[in-house]
Amino acid sequence: MFFLKEETKVISLHPSYFGPNVREYLITRLNEEEEGRCTGDHFVICVMDMVDIGEGRVLPSSGHGEYTIKYRAIIWKPFRGETVDAIVTSVKPTGIFTLAGPLAVFIARKNIPSDIKWEPNTVPPQYTDHGDQVIEKGTGLRLKILGVKPDVAAINAIGTIKEDYLGPL
């Protein structure tokens, strides 16, 4: 689910950057560092605007300037039960690896409908029901997130397509 979240970040700046362009430096840096970041809990999709950059503070020892920036960002936090569209990145006998945006979702064999079978002899290998449903690398899938496991700087999720209206698009 997407949220608009207000967060703060501290950026320190070498004195050589002090000058009229400080703000640009900070914005660039903020965008570079924050957008696409995964906290283990959510993904930062986009930094919307900066609420407050605040006054810089010069650190006594190094002379670096330290700015505490408040900004708003669109974040995506995947939830259990959420239905997302994803792209298949690889198919293996154990299941299907997909990417729903930045989130890697694994669909285990158990969570694939029993009529969609592993077909290793085709090129590339695929899961198929020998009908119109073919799942191979690059296929778009609609899946439901079953569980989300936060990690230090990543989120792992498992999903299912064993429900109505789920499966290849």
Partner: protein, 1068 residues
């Protein structure tokens, strides 16, 4: 074990002729119950006892000539010999024997008394006479064997009316006619008895607690009143050899037979029993006095009455005799075999005998079908156990029975049995059905508790189902497991649901556990928030799909972490984090896991750790088993090693750097792909020398670990998309860039780059208070140096200009300029190795460089002295060079050499260009900055640089040269530079520019390989050197021609400075 006197007696009374001796086992079973004071027993036999007691009384009273004296007498006997009575009860054999005797007596009725003795031939029989005769004897006061006499009397009494005439003869005259008096006496006694009932009861109660039953008749007595009191005989626990308890009890029984009560030396214990498994190593003896116990056990093997004898507190007596309800076995349940060939094997219960003592089990047979039979082996008694052969160790693997196999060699032992239902085979005396061994076993040979069948074991049983489908009865399996569910498998906070019983459907979290009862805090429904107790059996853990769980035991997947993908009743399928494989386990073996990342650990080792196996082998841990590690070594082979075989764990170096096949830098965390082969890709976990350990989540085998060579990978993406913007915590590059446009007017290059070369040098103070003292420079600024004096062990600050650098070994003064020049080279040379941190994974490159580097380093240093020595001579050479150096770069560089700034760039890779320009500005603006830049890029300049640097050394610009040295290293690849060196034109300005410094670079340039190869003046150069008194100068040109490599030597020599270099020079 102990039957009370009364029991026994009356039993025989009742049953008389058709007396059926109780089977030994049954009586064994009764042991605890039968022992006096057992409540349960009491209930069972209440009726009996009433009867018997009544009878007990009556016959006695009926005895014709009995009088009060006799009665008292009898009582006394009973008092004196309680053990005797018990004795009889305790031992079946005794009982049987007695029965036998009784039968004899029946015969006696028909035969003569005298005959009887002869028939029985036992000493005891001595006193056995015809019933009535016996009676009289007793009356005469023979009371040795009172109880037996009693028996007989009882019998006699029963038989009274039908006495044989012969027996009648034995009666005293008038006995028959005395009948009236007898009856009178009986009546009188009955009256007394009825009046004295209370008193009598009291008496009996004192002696035998359970006899109260007789007194209270049909009234139900509360059980607690039946508990033993202090007046009852005590029970002593005596140590014995564990496992021999039963044997000891039998030995006691035997001894009692030998020394029955009433014999000269009677055993005076009341009962003896053992409690088997729970109290192994003890037998319990009931007796009045401890001395009796000791006496009874004297000289008996396997029992140790001399060690501490425990008096069982009255309070604990009931516990001691409590019969534990034996495990209820149900067909379909699982058990394990305790010993023998199938020791430890899982078996399924087929049938349970009604007595609950024997069961029929189904086993997966372990047969070798005679394949390993040694036909030539001498016949040995099969019963005798051969020493050293443990049947449980050397045994064939579990396999279903195959008649084909059996027919091969053991056809004669095989026979098909026709039976209803499935076909069965008889092989070597055992029955096989559907491939399984069907075996009758005693319960005591089975493990019925904590069986913990593992799924893989159980599947063997499922395989044999008739229709070929695996109809594994998971329900019954779960049932068995449930029984073994230890309370620790439920921890407070575990989500559970009640799946059967009254509370079915309840969902909650456990809040506490007491034995088999779990308190559940309900979280859903109407009862939410309430605490409810539920038995463990009705509970199961509750997981949802997507839960992150850990396997906690009872399964071979112990410690796996994973996410639940399917929940079906008790079976939970989870997807292992590590192997991406599906695992099915019971929910009781799972627990919610808050851990992320790491799975099992084995000591210090963890999955994905890099370990050193031996000096040349490293490996990455791909799986941690309970006792071993599976590792993938650098050669790509998988091995299983023990933790002890691992030399050490390599702490990961996060900053390690390597280059891929395109020369791009790769670091830990980058994603790379194989260039050749399978094109596998993965994230770099470890960089070790030229090997990369990658992790690819999509790969199932080896936990996704791949090992590749650095030369075989291409970068796919850098870690987290390394920010390509400026690093805001470093100096703003724009500031430096800004300097460029300024041209000549921009700032002068900084004087110092890198650490002061003085640091670490041995110096002598030239003047001042410390004059003549030698020390080591610890720290230096541009003016001052802090010197640690050898003599004073003290740091003093001394102006640099009054310091003289000394050679620490020879003590010779090292010319500062020369020293610097020389210094540089070693510095450069040595820097390659120690600075690996800085150079990172590129170390090999450094090595490569050094091979090149020497060329210039050497040339420069070598030349430097020469040059210094013969300035003039060289100059022309230089000029030659200059002329050659049509290449503006060269020229430029030369200029740099002259200008200190030129060096700087060498240091700061990025920054160089501007510096150059800066330096150039000093007089070389003519060399367009731009022109130089390319030179930089090519990296070729370096030689030129170093040359320049050296030159400048010659010109005595101090300190500054160091900087260039490293530059030299980098530029090592320079050969190109040489080529470019010849470029014309540039040199022309150069000379003009520097009157002083100009020559220096020139000199250097000349030797540079590129130059020499084409230039005739190369020849002159050496000549110039020759002039400089150097024999080796001649080689220099050669050097130019050849790879500079040999120069490496001087680097190694390092610190010595000038002289060594000179040596090096010839080496090319």
């Amino acid at each position: 074990m102990s039957h009370s006197l009364l029991d026994q007696d009356f039993g025989s009374d009742e049953e008389e002729e058709d007396f059926n001796p109780a089977p030994a086992e049954e009586s064994d079973d009764e042991n605890a119950g039968r022992a006096k004071a057992s409540n349960r027993d009491y209930d069972d036999e209440e009726d009996d006892e009433e009867d018997t007691d009544v009878k007990a009384g009556r016959p006695a009273h009926r005895r014709g000539s009995e009088d009060d004296v006799r009665n008292r007498d009898e009582d006394d006997v009973e008092d004196a010999e309680p053990a005797a009575h018990d004795d009889e009860g305790t031992h079946e054999e005794g009982a049987e024997e007695e029965e036998g005797e009784e039968e004899d007596e029946d015969e006696d009725d028909d035969n003569d008394d005298d005959d009887e003795d002869a028939v029985s031939g036992r000493p005891r029989k001595r006193r056995r006479r015809g019933g009535v005769a016996n009676f009289f004897e007793e009356e005469a006061g023979v009371d040795e064997d009172e109880d037996e006499a009693e028996d007989e009397e009882d019998e006699l009494a029963e038989l009274g009316g039908e006495m044989h005439p012969d027996d009648m003869d034995a009666l005293p005259v008038g006995a028959e006619t005395d009948d009236r008096r007898h009856r009178q006496l009986d009546r009188q006694r009955e009256l007394e008895a009825s009046m004295d009932a209370e008193k009598q009861a009291q008496l009996l109660k004192e002696r035998y607690g359970r006899n109260r039953a007789a007194a209270t008749d049909a009234v139900v007595v509360p059980k607690r009143l039946l508990l033993p009191s202090v007046e009852d005989p005590s029970i002593w626990g005596v140590r014995c050899k564990p496992g021999k308890e039963r044997e000891v009890v039998f030995a006691i029984q035997k001894r009692i037979e030998e020394r029955p009560p009433g014999s000269r030396n009677p055993i005076k214990i009341i009962s003896a029993f053992e409690r088997g498994g729970a109290m192994a190593g003890y037998i319990y003896i009931e007796a009045r006095r401890q001395a009796d116990v000791l006496e009874a056990l004297q000289d008996m093997s396997n029992v140790y009455p001399r060690s501490k004898v425990i008096l069982v507190p009255v309070r604990e007596m009931p516990d001691l005799l409590r019969v534990q309800k034996s495990e209820e076995l149900n067909p379909g349940g699982w058990v394990r075999i305790k010993r023998g060939k199938y020791q430890g094997d899982l078996a399924q219960i087929e049938e349970v005998e009604t007595n609950g003592l024997a069961v029929t089990v189904r086993l997966v047979p372990r047969l070798d079908y005679g394949l390993n039979e040694d036909t030539a082996a001498p016949l040995v008694d099969p019963k005798r156990k051969r020493p050293g052969v443990n049947p449980a160790v050397a045994r064939p693997p579990q396999r279903l029975f195959s008649e084909a196999e059996a027919k091969k060699k053991h056809g004669k032992y095989l026979s098909a049995t026709s039976r209803l239902g499935p076909k069965s085979w008889n092989y070597l005396g055992e029955t096989y059905i559907d491939g399984f061994l069907i075996k009758d076993m005693k319960v005591q040979h089975l493990v019925t508790k904590s069986v913990n069948p593992r799924l893989e074991e159980v599947t063997m049983f499922a395989r044999g189902s008739e229709d070929g489908t695996a109809n594994l009865d998971l329900a019954s399996l779960a049932e068995t497991l449930k029984n073994s569910t230890a309370e620790e498998s439920y921890l407070p906070g575990d989500p559970v649901e009640v799946y059967r019983g009254e509370q079915q459907g309840l969902v909650g979290r456990t809040s506490s556990t007491r034995g088999d009862i779990v308190t559940v805090q309900v979280t859903q429904g109407d009862l939410a928030g309430q605490l409810i107790d539920a038995p463990v059996k009705t509970l199961r853990k509750r997981f949802r799909e997507g839960d992150h769980v850990k396997v906690i035991g009872g399964s071979r997947y112990q410690d796996e972490l994973g996410m639940v993908v399917q929940v079906k009743d008790d079976n939970v399928t989870l997807l292992s984090d590590m192997s991406m494989q599906e695992i099915t386990v019971f929910s009781k073996d799972l627990r919610l896991s808050a851990e992320t990342g790491v799975d099992g650990k084995l000591g210090m080792f963890d999955v994905h750790d890099l370990v050193q196996l031996d000096a040349s082998t490293v490996a990455c841990v791909v799986k941690v088993d309970r006792e071993s590690l599976r590792v993938l070594d650098q050669n790509g082979s998988i091995r299983t090693v023990l933790p002890t075989q691992v030399a050490s764990k390599i702490t990961p170096r996060r900053d390690a750097v390597a280059t891929d096949r395109n020369g791009a830098e790769i670091r830990h965390g980058d994603t790379v792909r194989e260039g050749y082969g399978d094109q596998r890709s993965g994230v770099i976990l470890h960089i070790h020398r030229s090997f990369l350990f990658l992790h690819n989540k999509a790969q199932a085998e080896n936990s996704g670990i791949i090992v590749v060579r650095t030369t075989n990978v291409v970068t796919v993406s850098a870690k987290g998309g390394r920010s390509n913007g400026p690093d805001l915590t470093k100096l703003n590059p724009a500031v430096m860039r800004n300097a460029v446009p300024g041209g000549g007017s921009s700032m002068a290059p900084p004087k110092f780059m890198g650490r002061d070369r003085m640091i670490g040098k041995t110096v002598m103070v030239r003047k001042g208070p410390f004059k003549g003292l030698v020390g080591i420079v610890k720290d230096a600024s541009d003016q001052q140096a802090r010197v640690e004096l050898h003599s004073k062990n003290k740091l003093v600050t001394i102006p640099k200009e009054i310091l003289v650098v000394k050679d620490p070994v020879t003590g010779a003064t090292v010319d500062m300029s020369r020293g610097k020049g020389g210094q540089r080279v070693p510095y450069g040379g040595s820097s390659g190795a120690p600075q690996s941190g800085w150079q990172g994974g590129r170390t090999p490159m450094a090595v490569g460089d050094s091979s090149r580097t020497p060329a210039w380093g050497m040339s420069s240093s070598a030349r430097t002295p020469a040059w210094g020595g013969v300035g003039g001579s060289r100059t022309p050479a230089w000029k030659n060079d200059g002329s050659r150096t049509s290449n503006p770069y060269d020229g430029n560089r030369t200029a740099y050499g002259g200008g200190l700034g030129s060096r700087t760039p060498a240091w700061n890779a990025g920054a160089r260009t501007p510096y150059d320009s800066g330096s150039g500005s000093s007089g070389f603006d003519a060399f367009a900055a731009g022109s130089r830049t390319p030179a930089w890029n090519s990296g070729n300049r370096t030689p030129a640089w170093s040359a320049g640097a050296t030159a400048s050394n010659g010109s005595k610009d101090s300190g500054n040269y160091d900087a260039p040295t490293p530059g030299g290293n980098y530029s090592a690849p320079t050969p190109g530079a040489y080529a470019s060196a010849p470029t014309p034109g540039v040199s022309a300005p150069t000379p003009g520019a520097w009157p002083d410094s100009a020559p220096t670079p020139g000199a250097f340039n000349a030797p540079t390989p590129g130059g020499p190869s084409k230039r005739p003046y190369d020849a002159p150069t050496p000549a110039a050197w020759d002039g400089g008194n150097r024999p080796y100068d001649a080689p220099t040109p050669a050097m130019g021609g050849t790879a500079a490599t040999p120069g490496a030597g001087p680097y190694g020599d390092g610190d010595d400075g000038g002289p060594r270099y000179e040596e090096g020079t010839p080496s090319p």
